[in-house]
Amino acid sequence: MQGNVADRFAVAVAQGRGSPQVTVPSSGARAKSFSRRRHGRGLWFVAPFTLMFVLFTLVPLVYAVYTSLFTSRLVGGTVFSGFSNYQAILSSGQFWGGMVRVLIFAAIQIPVMLAIALFFATVFDIGMVRWGGFFRTVYFLPFAVPTVVSAIMWSFLLEPEFGPFTKLAENLGFHGANLLSPSLLLPMIIVIVIWEWTGYNMVILYTALRSVPRDTVEAAMVEGATLSKIILSVKLPMVRPALVMLGLLNFIGALQLFVEPSILASFTPNVSFGFTPTIFLYNTAIGNQQYDLAAAGAVVLGVVITIISVGSLMIRRKMRSVSL
């Protein structure tokens, strides 16, 4: 469910790196040369996108808030019920259980993945491994595999009866090993998501490392800095913004975890009704047909994620202004 993390990063990177081009040329000379009517024509160009954006993004959001304030009853139809749906969601153990689970997931998966990605980005940047281009392509490959298919492949690999990894575990002496047992399911999802996203994160960090000027590194060398010193105090500070951004974007994605557990559910009975918040919402809306309740849940999830994103962006901006 980290699908649009990639999209978001494209924007994040662009904001950081492409800013000189973003600024519109000062309008002085241009304003004279083409009239206000010409500028107005821009509305025709932007209209099709805006119309679709309003219809398929803004309208649903508003409608979700609206629906969440009503309750449908078998008898008596749909009645205004204020915040009762929100009360139900916020007091639901299943919703919070899922929330805690994705938080644990994020707390382990993201640091591990970023550490691996940063390690390889550094190694390839320095040129420590031959055929770095080949390795980068291989590592990036899972990014091209649809999430559903990677979940299916891993489901087969980990399947408790015939999965090759299960057999391997049995050969190693773990009899009756079940890699998808309640306690191992989450660690296995962590492995799957690391498999899917490390290469992508690595390529972004690699690009950030490449942009460290050669002179800066050489100056440090002349002063006799060791390799570890160059990495830690010259290169790492330069990629910190990218690292922070990746942390945030992976976090947003992690809170929406859906595809992997929902495919694994066909191979193990241990994916519960509220395994993750998104699975909870899906089951509430489609399984139980409780649209109003699911709408309230979607709003809660949206608000939580938006607060976290905006909050961390603001903290980051504050930190940057202090350091300047």
Partner: protein, 322 residues
């Protein structure tokens, strides 16, 4: 309509590519410090190389597994060693089964065609809308421009779940559930596409060129079509690729929208087979799930290997400004 002409530099596509590749190589040589200057010990290099190879193996394991196991019969799939071939070689039979007689009606072929249709229409639409919108944001100062752009960018922070689920509620209300347009039309909204196109146009469509065409009396739309679009091709390719891949991979929205199996895209179809196999115990579906997974990832992996440049450009927009 166009009495004017404009001499664009006559550089062919291939020459441009070759030039770009040469420039990239030079850039790499210029910015790379020779390894020996770092004073890395030989032992470290060996250890790091071994670790890199191990991680490459980890990355390739599932892909190798799916290629190998697409050649097996159903009983062999479960009984043989997972990482090696097992006779009889059933690849062609599995392939035929997948596209022909599943459920007796070739439902997988249906899903494949659906996915291609959704990806082409949605991706084409997204690219067109992004090109028009990005051009407006980059080259016009229409009223409300800043507010609109801010609203569009801010929407990126809203999680997919919080948009897809309400979209389903709205569609349920207006009877767009189980309509292909219910999936295609929302897929045409690409906020990232608009953003990428804006950056790209600001970098590569000169204002002077537009001005000159205006002096010659060309209409705004003609200027866009004849002057801007040809200069936007690499940006358009990136947006098209990103949207096509995004639609090909989308699972959540079509899962919500479609309850008729004949409308499923590949992702939802495979998920459906998985749960159907586990509920009904129909073991014969498993080889098809493996082959179906391979057929779903193959087009994207090939696309990735052939136009890697655009993937990276999409991921790291910094490189498309050049």
């Amino acid at each position: 309509m166009s009495s004017w002409t404009w001499d664009l530099p006559k550089v062919t596509w291939i020459e441009k590519r070759r030039e770009a590749r040469r420039r990239r190589r030079e850039e790499l040589e210029r910015t790379t410090i020779p390894l020996r200057l770092y004073g890395v010990r030989r032992g470290t290099v060996v250890v790091v190389t071994v670790v890199s190879v191990l991680f490459a193996i980890f990355t390739l394991i599932p892909i190798a597994w799916i290629v190998i196991n697409s050649t097996k019969t159903q009983p062999r799939l479960f009984s043989s060693f997972g990482f090696w071939f097992a006779a009889p070689f059933h690849f062609i039979q599995n392939f035929k089964d997948l596209f022909k007689n599943v459920d007796g009606e070739g439902i997988f072929t249906h899903w494949f065609v659906n996915t291609a249709l959704y990806a082409v229409l949605g991706g084409g639409g997204a690219t067109a809308l992004s090109a028009l919108g990005g051009y407006a944001f980059a080259r016009f100062e229409f009223p409300g421009r800043k507010v609109l752009f801010f609203a569009v960018l801010a929407s990126l922070l809203i999680p997919v779940t919080a948009v897809s689920l309400p979209l389903y509620f709205v569609f349920a209300k207006v009877h767009l559930v189980n309509s292909i347009w219910g999936f295609i039309l929302p897929s045409m909204v690409s906020v990232v596409g608009v953003y990428l196109m804006r950056i790209f146009i600001e970098a590569s469509v000169p204002v002077e060129l537009i001005e000159a065409a205006r002096m010659d009396g060309a209409s705004e739309f003609m200027i866009f079509l004849r002057i801007a679009v040809p200069l936007m091709v690499p940006g358009l390719m990136t947006v098209l690729l990103l949207s096509v891949v995004g639609i090909w991979n989308n699972y959540f929205l079509p899962l919500l929208l479609f309850s008729k199996a004949s409308l499923y895209p590949l992702t939802v179809g495979l998920g459906f087979w998985g749960s159907h196999a586990s509920v009904s115990g129909d073991q014969l579906l498993y080889p098809l799930l493996v082959m179906g997974g391979l057929m779903t990832l193959l087009p994207l992996v090939l696309l990735f290997l052939f136009v890697q440049r655009y993937w990276r450009a999409g991921a790291l927009i910094g490189s498309i400004t050049g």
